[in-house]
Point group: C2
């Protein structure tokens, strides 16, 4: 066995595979619900044909969820690019606001990515946990911020045992290899930040909060603001608060 450059067949396979995903995304983007038959029909193909590419409906969902997350993250990054590259805190704020905007404008997509059954094998789970594009986007921003600002981290020996174990051999979407073992308190901070962000956005998306509060975004502001000290950003609170409210005003 030697290495192949991609043969014609492999190219074609890759291509229809991609078409399956994009067609799926188009479907849900138009408010239809995702189904093998609908995707097949739109591709001018019969449903069982898709089984040459996908093992099951659930696998298709996972695939599309990953792609949806990837595309959404491109949007977050683009939004953050409106700020200078060295304004890491600002980019983070703009990024989380873009995340919230996306979630509220595409609740079905949000649900697909972040409220999936997740009753899958530990293996798949590990992949999903560690590969989420949006996760990497945010955690990396936090890492860069810390590398420059060196805000205070919790000391490893102050962390609960299970948390210490988790941050030393982490299972989160982040490039943790660049973080020295003694600085892994940063990973705990990433997890805390993610909890706050995910929590409040999920609450808003699923509508278990007064609609007026959702619309104004005040709960989001409240939770995010209260999380700023985690990143040693207390001193910038005013600027970031203003920035956040300006972002919320966009739609």
């Amino acid at each position: 066995m030697h290495l192949h450059e991609p043969t014609r067949r492999e190219q074609r396979r890759e291509q229809t595979f991609a078409e399956i995903v994009t067609t799926s995304r188009a479907l849900i983007g138009e408010g239809e619900d995702l189904s093998l038959r609908a995707v097949a029909a739109r591709m001018g193909v019969t449903a069982p044909a898709l089984y040459r590419y996908v093992a099951s409906y659930q696998e298709l969902v996972d695939l599309v969820a990953f792609e949806v997350d990837r595309l959404a993250t491109e949007g977050f990054a683009a939004a953050a690019d409106a700020l200078p590259a060295d304004d890491l805190a600002g980019r983070l704020v703009v990024g989380v606001c873009a995340f919230r905007r996306w979630a509220l404008s595409a609740p079905r997509e949000f649900g697909m990515v972040f409220a999936n059954p997740v009753a899958e094998s530990p293996c798949t789970r590990r992949e999903l946990l560690t590969l989420a594009s949006s996760g990497i986007f945010f955690t990396d921003l936090i890492r860069l911020l810390w590398e420059r600002e060196r805000f205070a981290l919790p000391r490893l020996e102050d962390l609960p045992d299970t948390v210490r174990a988790a941050v030393l051999d982490p299972l989160i979407p982040a490039k943790v290899d660049d973080i020295a073992a003694e600085d892994r308190g940063l990973v705990w901070i990433m997890m805390q930040g993610w909890s706050r962000l995910y929590g409040v956005v999920a609450l808003e998306v699923f509508g278990h909060l007064d609609p007026r509060v959702v619309e104004s975004g005040e709960m989001f502001v409240d939770v995010m603001t209260s999380a700023l000290p985690l990143l040693g950003l207390d001193h910038e609170q005013e600027r970031l608060d203003a920035l956040m409210r300006a972002e919320l005003a966009r739609s």
Copy 2:
């Protein structure tokens, strides 16, 4: 038209209606998925017959969700009853821990109640928002706590406009009529607490967090502990922290 005492027919109707709900709950409790046909079969009836009682599948889901929430709340209340009636803070801590235990042990039920489509009419929505048993349980505990302790509330004039409007004419599951207008800052505290609780539990249930951290409950402890000052419970932090960890140790 005059008032009837319930006639025989109405009784029978009410009864089969209840049987539909309990049968549905039994189904999902056994890990099966909820479907009109399955419920009908288990009742020894054909599926279209159910349409005499429910207008659609979605309506059945909503109905069952409400019932599931009600039963779960009974469990929370029972757990809280392990503590003396005057230990309101302790009961609250035990209650939220029971909520988390329930959510993690019955993720499908949790999802049904708290991650529902919620794309329904404002009317239905209002009902769902204001009638959730679990919501009333927690908010009422907070109200009792405040009536005794009178911890500091945000002043109405310090709240953002939209929040002030929302707390003055609230849309949350709580007996707010007992709260004077000038004390409605308490409603905002209820919302903040609910956001924290819902957020971290949803995160854990849907598995978007390191499984080891979920299992140990440290993120839950972290979020809940950081929310204690909202209720003026800083001074009891140690006791409540110990209580919380003891509760988490239960399974």
